[in-house]
């Protein structure tokens, strides 16, 4: 069988290496292409070929068994500590791999002119993007806890340099360090849990040479206290990554200081590792602890929804605003996961994909807008009345914004409504009330999107902005697939839902299958 996932991981690595080596090629042939070098076109070609490979992976994937981890490969890696190279994707993993792979060429294209014309800088930038792509694909397909952990941390390296080295804001270094510290802090706690998991698993009779395989660990009974502690360890790392209130502080800073392309990769894809980890590691590995923590997690998720939305409304910086909207959306995703209903979980899985498309579109379009300002101002107040100046840009922004506020007809709506409806019928105590409490989030979403649109695009055009150019062809090419994807998935969501439905059912079954303590079950019964 063709190792699709390994190839998908390896190809961008090869790309990064080739881009690095392209320096040699240019020196031999002399300065060509106006001094910007081969790096950008090479990287774009590599990322497009990767999309082609992705299609192959989709064809090889059997949707009838979307709940199983397919395209699986397994080799011993460091058997002395039980680590294996084990990859495989279920439907959710495949969709997230697809999201990463599809967004990378768009981001490369969007950032085509963003990093100036310095050849060395361009080469580093695209190489880092390709490196990040490889890690992202790998982390979504990892089926070994140790491998997952290593990739989870390895992703920070390119991300750190992309924020700190290539950002736009004055505080980019600070933001990069903040991001790194938060992530490393979470990773450290997770590491402790990973190590503990190894010893407990070996104690429970798992083969010590393959002790980290997720498939094996799910069968291990860890004991209540240990399970809960480990759940907390994993969960904190994922919550920081997700990000969830109150460990979200790094996100707006990163969004405000990184380039829109970086933010897209970071927030729309990389952060999904947090929610993906909750879904594919926390729930199956620690079912009892997940149920135990669910009421608390749900409450925090709803707080995130409202908190993020309110903060978004109060922002004066366009890119920070988009960052805050993500806090709100991640709240919805987590709400769906931890209410343990097939509908809500499927909605959350779908939302991970949709949020990537919608927020990606919003980030990139906002980036196009900012790049047009003579001073590259990110302040919303610096813009006004641009609807008549740049109608296509305005329209694209509005569509992306409407997707962010989950307008029916667009994919985001389907997922959001699935989460809300699903969460209402969730099994943890108080699910219904929290679901209702999250609904005002949709009103706040309307406020932050339309208020921003109103300030930037309506009224009299601001001085100095009367002659801004409209979206260029390159930029339209970037926006079009995202908008089209949102529309198509909004009208025919079953295209994606076939991939997430079965995994959702399975993960809910995994959590709820464990026998409830008798008195708790009786109590739940009387509640209903």
């Amino acid at each position: 069988m063709f190792p699709w996932l390994t190839v998908l991981v390896a190809w961008p690595l090869v790309g990064a290496a080739v881009v690095g080596l392209s320096a040699l090629v240019r020196r031999r042939t002399g300065p060509a292409g106006g001094g910007t070098g081969l790096a950008r076109p090479l990287a774009l070609v590599f990322s497009l070929v990767e999309v082609g490979l992705l299609v192959g992976a989709f064809l090889a994937f059997d949707t009838g068994a979307a709940a199983e981890h397919q395209l699986a490969e397994q080799h011993a890696w460091i058997p002395q500590i039980g680590a294996s190279y084990a990859v495989g994707v279920d439907g959710v993993g495949l969709l997230l791999v697809a999201l990463s792979v599809v967004l990378v060429p768009l981001v490369l294209l969007a950032a085509w002119r963003e990093q100036g014309r310095d050849e060395v800088r361009l080469r580093r930038f695209v190489a880092l993007v390709l490196l990040l792509e490889a890690f992202m694909v790998a982390v979504f397909s990892a089926r070994d806890v140790f491998l997952f952990y290593v990739l989870f941390e390895a992703m920070l390296i390119p991300a750190y340099f992309l924020i700190g080295g290539f950002g736009q804001g004055a505080g980019r270094r600070r933001a990069a360090v903040k991001f790194l510290m938060f992530s490393l802090g979470g990773g450290l706690i997770m590491l402790a849990a990973v190590i503990a998991l190894y010893f407990l698993a070996v104690d429970a009779g798992v083969d010590p040479r393959q002790a980290f395989l997720v498939g094996q660990l799910t069968a291990v009974d860890l004991g209540t206290v240990a399970e809960r502690l480990m759940f907390v360890g994993f969960f904190i790392a994922f919550a920081i990554k997700a990000p969830m209130v109150p460990v979200h502080s790094w996100l707006p800073d990163v969004a405000g200081n990184a380039t829109p392309g970086t933010s897209t990769l970071l927030i729309c894809v990389l952060d999904k590792v947090g929610t993906f980890g909750m879904l594919t590691l926390c729930l199956p590995l620690f079912p009892e602890a997940s149920r135990w923590a669910a009421p608390f997690v749900i409450a925090l998720a709803v707080v995130s929804v409202l908190y993020g939305a309110i903060m978004a409304i109060m922002q004066t910086d366009l890119l920070r605003l988009v960052g805050w909207t993500s806090v709100s959306h991640f709240g919805f995703i987590i709400l769906g996961i931890f209410t343990f209903t097939p509908l809500g979980t499927a909605g959350s899985s779908f939302m991970m994909l949709n949020h990537g498309l919608a927020t990606g579109a919003l980030f990139l379009v906002a980036g196009f807008l900012v790049s047009r300002h003579p001073e590259r101002s990110q302040k919303i107040a610096a813009y006004s009345g641009l609807r008549s100046v740049t109608p296509v840009l305005a329209g694209t922004f509005l569509v992306a914004g409407l997707a962010t506020l989950s307008l029916p007809g667009l994919a985001t709506f389907v997922s959001e409504i699935m989460v809300l409806i699903g969460a209402f019928g969730g099994s943890p105590a108080g699910s219904a009330a929290w679901a209702i409490a999250a609904i005002p989030g949709v009103v706040l979403a309307a406020v932050y999107v339309l208020l921003t649109y109103q300030k930037i695009f309506t009224g009299a055009p601001a001085a100095g902005l009367e002659a801004l150019p409209d979206l260029r062809v390159r930029e339209r090419v970037v926006a079009a697939p995202l908008v089209a994807g949102l529309l198509v998935l909004g009208l025919v969501p079953s295209l994606a839902l076939t991939y997430v439905d079965a995994p959702a059912e399975q993960s809910v079954a995994a959590v709820t299958a464990v026998d409830e303590p008798a008195d708790a079950a009786a109590q739940m019964g009387s509640d209903k």
Partner: protein
Amino acid sequence: MNDVIGLAPWLVGFPLIGAAVLLLGGRATDRWGHWLGVAASAASAVVAFILMFRMIGTPPEERAVDHGLWTWLSAGGLDVDLGLRLDPLSLTFVMLVTFVGTLIHVYSVAYMDHDVDRRRFFAYLNLFVAAMLTLVLADSYLLLFVGWEGVGVASYLLIGFWDTGRPSARENAVAAKKAFVMNRVGDMGLIAAMAILFATVGSVSFADVLPAAGGLSETTATAVGLCLLLAACGKSAQFPLQAWLGDAMAGPTPVSALIHAATMVTAGVYLMVRSGPILEAAPTAQLVVVVVGAVTLLFGAVVGTAKDDIKKALAASTMSQIGYMMLAAGLGPAGYAFAIFHLLTHGFFKAGLFLGAGSVMHAMGDQTDMRRFGGLSRFLPITWITMGLGWLAILGIPPFSGFWSKDGIIEAAFVPVDGQPWRAWVFGSVAVLGAAITAFYMTRLFFMTFGGRRPRWTENQHPHEGSPLMWWPLVFLGVGSAALGAVLGIGGTFTTWLEPVVGHAEHHEPVLPVPAIITVTLVLVVLGAALAFRMYAVALVPEEAPRGSFLTRAARKDLYQDAANETLVVLPAHGVARLVQVGDRDVVDRGWGVLPLAVSWFGAMFRKAQTGYVRSYAAGMAGGVLVIAVVAWLVIQLGGGLGGAQ
């Protein structure tokens, strides 16, 4: 019926394709875009007529047809097909939307003639028609919600159509945002309702939910009913979510006619009627619906009496008339038919009135202040006559169409529910009172515009009738205002038509005899109209509004609705938001900042040990060696001497 049902998707399809072509085509379609828009709408209307005639030819019990298209979403136990439900209720709406919509499209070709963005306007209009048809044709709450928010977006785009390049651009944009956000407040109700329905019934499609409504517990049904009412209040500008409608008049007048008078704002009534079985299972919710209707009815009417802006006066009137419909929708099966009937007739006469107002504005250079009109009947005869028909219709003067529908509602309001005569008396009186006030403000509007002995125009006004494209739709709507009620109302044609959907209503006796109700109503209406005639046609109308009584001033300010919203919602919300913002900065962010601070504090402490003096380090090393040696020695001593050697 089944042979033509395949056409139904095209009802939505034509305008959707029109909108897509116009939006994506860009300036290339500027030259012919508006005609494409008209054609798309007209094509829909033709399909609607075909379906209509086929349905009339079908036996009543086979008239409801569900036409599935494709599986929309199927996950986690929620299976929703994207499907259309065609029955007399939805078809009534389809007819209204496509017919009036097409007329308004035609009217707009002339009205928007000088606007550089005319193509965009038609794209939005098409988008609206598509969304509105989705709303009424949906076979599930979920798909209905798609249309529901779709019309919201179209409305948002059209209210804010002039959002740049005009002095009022920013205000228009704000009005558009206000409309959308307040609609969203209502939409929360629909989401919650769907959540409750899925949790209890396991489905959100009408075919599953409505038959199961009787089996719901009363608490559940009440919760769902109230949630749906919240949604309806948002969409139909009912109390307490009414504040956006007046501001929505910032949009071009055809928009006000189509969206904010004839069709979209009545979607709430449609939702109530469509969800009839749920409401019937929840008497409390029904009572709330009636109360909301009654309050809005009076609210709108009172506001209408004081407005000098012709469009705002009509908007207040719309609110009030929808209050009637809502009141009827809360009365159970007896009211449903009249609610929809009034919706239909209102769609015609209010669209006519708005288009007439547009015609007046067009003639007067976009002036909207009625105190600067007067004496226009000679210059705008067609507008005068058609608006006159609309005026008589809304007053409910027999035999004009408003009489047949509104009178039905008033009669139904006088019917005691659950043997509680106080309700009949209260709501009946409110309905009659509303009719009287309606007569007053509509007469005031009509005579301030067309009557009066001398014009109060501003400089250089040369009013004249617009192009035939503008007045032919007026004529059609005028005829509709005059005749539609009689055609459908005499002999209960319309009631029978809707019966397969809303169910048969047993006849209950009102607390007063029917002729008495009609007489009292008519007398009060004529009195109100006469009072207005005396004040605004016989007497001179000052060009500047007099200060007026307290009530007048309050009504001019929409009974302080904006101030109330500001104090009760916006300010507290803003306070909370400020609190969150400050909290995030000073508590959360700074809280995490404590960690690095602690680390650097420790670093600073240890830094002091790094004197840079080699000898200090050497002392440290030697001291360390010494300490280790001493410890090792002590350990060995205590452990029993140096091991090994004897």
